[in-house]
C-alpha cells in the first residue's frame, strides 16, 4: 500500500469519482490548469476535460449557488472553496440554500454535493485564509460536516461524501495537506460518515479532536504519558453526523475528557461536545471537562498565530488540570 500525503489522497478520490461517475463535476477557482492552489485537482482537467473540471469566476456565492442548480439538473457537483474563511461569501447559499433544499422541496431536489474547503492555521497566511469556521456549518441543519485527520480517511470519506445523497462540507486542513502522510490504497474505497476513530487508548483521560488537531492531541498524549498519565485520543472524523456512541464510550471508559479544536472557544464545536458528554456520560465524570480552543479573537497575523492556535502545551496543561482535580 503506497504512502500518500493528504492532498494526494484527496486528488486520488476526486480522480476516482470523476472516472467512476460521469455525473461528477468539479468546479472552483483555479481548479483547472493550475490544479488548485494546493494542487488538490492537479492533472484532473487534463484527464477529464474543461467541462468536468471547471475554472470558475472569483465568486464564492455563485460557485456554491450554481452547484445547487447543477445538482437539480441531475449532476453531482464538487465545488471547491479556495479557503473556508472565504466561505462566508457563500454562507447564505450554503446555509440558506444547499442545506435546506431537500427540505424545502420536500424531497424533490436533494443536494448530492460535496463542498471542499481548506482551513486551519500555522502556515502564515494572510487574513481569513486560516479560520476554522466549522461550528457555523455544524449549526446548519441539512448539512453534513466532515473533517478527516488522516490521508486514508480523507480519501475514503471524500469518496463516501460524494456517494452520500446529502450535501457535505468537507474540510481539509491546509497544514496537513503535505505533513499528514499515511498508507492509502490505490483502489477506490469508502469510510463511513459518522463513525469516530479511536486513535489511542488511555485509561485516565480522553482527548476529543478532529482534523489536524488530532496530531496535536497525539503529541499531547505522548507528553502526558511521560508524566505518567494514560491519555487516549478520539478522532471524531465528522461533526455532523456526530458519533455520540463513541463519545459516550470513550469518556465513560476513563472519566475525564479534554475537547480540542482550532476554532474559537465561545460557541465553538467544543461547546457541543461538552454538552453532549455531560448528557451522555455525566455519572462517569471525575473532573470538569477541559476545553482547549483558539481564543475568542479574530484569527491573527502570522507572527502571533502560534499563540492563537491550540498548542501541545495548552492541551497538556488541560490534561494536568483535569488529572489534578480531586475526584
Amino acid at each position: 500500500m503506497p504512502e500518500m500525503t493528504m492532498v494526494e489522497a484527496i486528488r486520488s478520490a476526486l480522480g476516482d469519482a470523476l472516472a467512476g461517475d460521469e455525473r461528477v463535476i468539479v468546479l472552483g477557482q483555479d481548479v483547472g490548469a493550475n490544479g488548485g492552489v494546493f494542487r488538490a485537482t492537479e492533472g484532473l482537467q487534463d484527464r477529464f476535460g474543461a467541462d468536468r473540471v471547471v475554472d470558475m469566476p472569483l465568486a464564492e456565492a455563485v460557485i456554491v449557488g450554481s452547484a445547487v442548480g447543477l445538482a437539480c439538473s441531475g449532476l453531482i457537483p464538487i465545488p471547491e472553496l479556495q479557503f473556508l474563511g472565504f466561505g462566508s461569501q457563500a454562507f447564505h447559499q450554503i446555509e440558506g440554500q444547499v442545506a435546506r433544499y431537500r427540505f424545502r422541496s420536500q424531497g424533490a431536489y436533494g443536494m448530492p454535493m460535496v463542498i471542499r474547503a481548506p482551513f486551519g492555521g500555522n502556515v502564515r497566511t494572510p487574513e481569513l485564509h486560516s479560520d476554522s469556521h466549522e461550528a457555523k456549518y455544524a449549526n446548519a441543519p441539512g448539512l453534513k460536516v466532515v473533517m478527516p485527520a488522516t490521508a486514508y480517511d480523507a480519501k475514503g470519506m471524500l469518496a463516501e461524501a460524494i456517494r452520500d445523497p446529502d450535501p457535505v462540507l468537507f474540510c481539509e486542513p491546509l497544514r496537513g495537506y503535505r505533513l499528514i502522510k499515511d498508507d492509502v490504497p490505490e483502489d477506490d474505497y469508502t469510510v463511513p460518515l459518522g463513525r469516530a476513530r479511536v486513535v489511542r487508548e488511555g485509561s485516565d483521560l480522553v482527548i476529543v479532536a478532529y482534523s489536524a488537531a488530532v496530531v496535536i492531541a497525539q503529541r499531547a498524549a505522548e507528553t502526558a504519558a511521560a508524566e505518567g498519565y494514560s491519555v487516549g485520543v478520539l478522532d471524531l472524523r465528522s461533526l455532523v453526523p456526530l458519533d455520540v456512541d463513541a463519545l459516550r464510550e470513550a469518556v465513560a471508559a476513563c472519566g475525564r475528557a479534554v475537547v480540542l479544536h482550532e476554532g474559537s472557544l465561545t460557541a465553538g464545536f467544543g461547546a457541543e461536545l461538552v454538552a453532549t458528554i455531560q448528557e451522555e456520560a455525566f455519572w462517569s465524570l471525575q473532573a470538569p471537562i477541559g476545553r482547549v480552543a483558539a481564543y475568542d479573537t479574530p484569527y491573527p497575523p502570522g507572527t502571533v498565530e502560534d499563540l492563537y492556535v491550540p498548542s501541545v502545551q495548552r492541551v497538556v496543561a488541560a490534561i494536568r488540570t483535569a488529572m489534578e482535580t480531586p475526584s
Binding site: 449557488g65 445547487v68 447543477l70 440554500q97 420536500q106 424531497g107
Partner: protein, 349 residues
C-alpha cells in the same frame, strides 16, 4: 451570435398600446385565449387569497396584480415539457403553466410543507424567499442541463430590489461566461416593499446592465403581454440555439401591496398609483380582445365564474389536507439522517 438590440431605455419594446391597439403588422405569437384565461386566473387568485388571508385561512400572500403581463408573457414563451421556471415568489401563473398545481400553491401559502413538493416531471424549482438566491441556481440548472445534452431553456425571475443583491451580479456574470441558456426576467415593478426603484439604483435602465456582462439585454414594456412574449420568445430561441443568456427588463408596476402584511398607503403616492393603474396589463389585453371580438362580456363573466370555481375547489383540497404532525419537521431534512436527529424525531412525536 445573434444579440438582442439593447433598446433605448427611454423606449422599451411595446407592441400593444394601453388603449388596446396592436402595433401594425404584429401578429401575436401566443395562445391568446389561454394567456387571457391565465391573467384572469391570477386576478381571481389575488382576490380570493387576500380575502382568505383576512379570514385567517391563509398565510402570507404576495399578490401579482399589475405584473400579469410580465409573468405570463414571459412564461408562455417556454415549452413546459422541455423548459424550466426558477421563480422568486410572485410568479404563480408561470408555475401553474409548468404543471405545479394550484392546490399545492395554496397549501404552500397556508404553511403546509407538502405544498412545496414538486411532482416528478414538473420543471420548476420551489418558490424562493431569499431574494436573488435563486438566480445562481437557474444558471447552474441551465448549465447542467446543457452539459447533459439537453436543449432546455431556464427562465428565472427576480425584481428590481433583488437586482441589488450580490447573487444577481455573480449569476449574470457566470451566465455570460458559460453562455448558459437562461432568460433572466427582471421585473422592475417600481418597489421593493416601500423602497422605490430610484433608491435601488442610480441607473435608468436595468437592461443596460446586460452589456456589462457580455450578454443580450432588452427593455420591455412589462405591462404589454405581446411585447413580453415577443422579447422572451426571441430570448428563448437564442438560448436554445446556444447563443447564450438574455436579461429582459420588464418595466411594470406593483399595483397592490408587497404582501398581505403591507400597507402601501404609507409610502405610495396615490396620484402615481392612479396613473399606473391606467396602464393595467389585464385591462389592456381585454380592450384588444373585445375590439377583435375574441371575447365579450358574457364569455368573460363565464370564464371568471369557472376560474372562481376552480380556485374554490383547489382551496378546499388545500384546506382538507390534514395538519401535519411532528414528522413533518424531520422528513426530508436529510436522505440519511444523523442518529441524533432520529432521536429528536422520536422525542417530538
Amino acid at each position: 451570435m445573434s444579440t438582442a438590440p439593447t433598446v433605448d431605455p427611454a423606449e422599451p419594446l411595446r407592441l400593444l398600446a394601453p388603449d388596446g391597439t396592436l402595433a401594425p403588422g404584429h401578429v401575436p405569437g401566443l395562445d391568446l385565449l389561454d394567456a387571457w384565461r391565465a391573467m384572469l386566473r391570477s386576478r381571481t387568485c389575488d382576490e380570493r387569497c387576500f380575502s382568505l388571508q383576512r379570514q385567517g385561512r391563509m398565510g402570507t400572500f404576495s399578490p401579482i396584480a399589475g405584473e400579469e403581463a410580465a409573468v405570463i408573457g414571459s412564461a408562455w414563451a417556454l415549452e413546459p415539457a422541455r423548459d424550466w421556471v426558477v421563480p422568486q415568489y410572485r410568479e404563480l401563473p408561470a408555475m401553474l403553466r409548468q404543471g405545479y398545481r394550484l392546490a399545492q400553491a395554496l397549501q404552500y401559502y397556508r404553511g403546509n410543507p407538502a405544498g412545496s413538493r414538486i411532482d416528478p416531471g414538473v420543471h420548476v424549482l420551489p418558490f424562493q424567499i431569499s431574494l436573488a438566491a435563486q438566480i445562481p441556481h437557474a444558471v447552474g440548472l441551465a448549465w447542467g442541463l446543457r452539459h447533459q445534452g439537453s436543449d432546455a431553456v431556464v427562465m428565472t425571475y427576480f425584481g428590481d430590489g433583488a437586482s441589488s443583491e450580490g447573487d444577481a451580479h455573480e449569476a449574470l456574470n457566470l451566465a455570460g461566461v458559460r453562455r448558459a441558456p437562461v432568460v433572466f426576467v427582471l421585473k422592475n415593478n417600481g418597489w421593493a416593499i416601500s423602497t422605490p426603484v430610484r433608491k435601488q439604483t442610480a441607473a435608468t435602465s436595468f437592461a443596460a446592465r446586460a452589456a456589462g456582462y457580455g450578454i443580450a439585454g432588452e427593455a420591455v414594456d412589462g405591462n404589454d403581454l405581446f411585447a413580453m412574449h415577443d422579447a422572451c420568445s426571441r430570448a428563448v430561441a437564442r438560448a436554445r440555439a446556444g447563443d447564450g443568456p438574455t436579461l429582459i427588463e420588464a418595466r411594470t408596476y406593483r399595483m397592490g401591496p408587497h404582501n398581505t402584511s403591507d400597507d402601501p398607503t404609507r409610502y405610495v403616492d396615490p396620484i402615481e398609483l392612479e396613473e399606473r393603474r391606467a396602464l393595467d396589463p389585464v385591462a389592456r389585453v381585454r380592450r384588444y380582445l373585445l375590439a377583435e371580438g375574441l371575447v365579450d362580456a358574457a364569455s368573460e363573466e363565464q370564464a371568471i365564474a369557472s376560474l372562481r370555481a376552480d380556485f374554490d375547489a383547489a382551496f378546499a383540497e388545500a384546506e382538507a389536507g390534514s395538519v401535519p404532525g411532528a414528522d413533518a419537521l424531520f422528513d426530508h431534512v436529510y436522505a440519511r439522517a444523523p442518529q441524533r436527529l432520529e432521536q429528536q424525531r422520536r422525542e417530538a412525536r
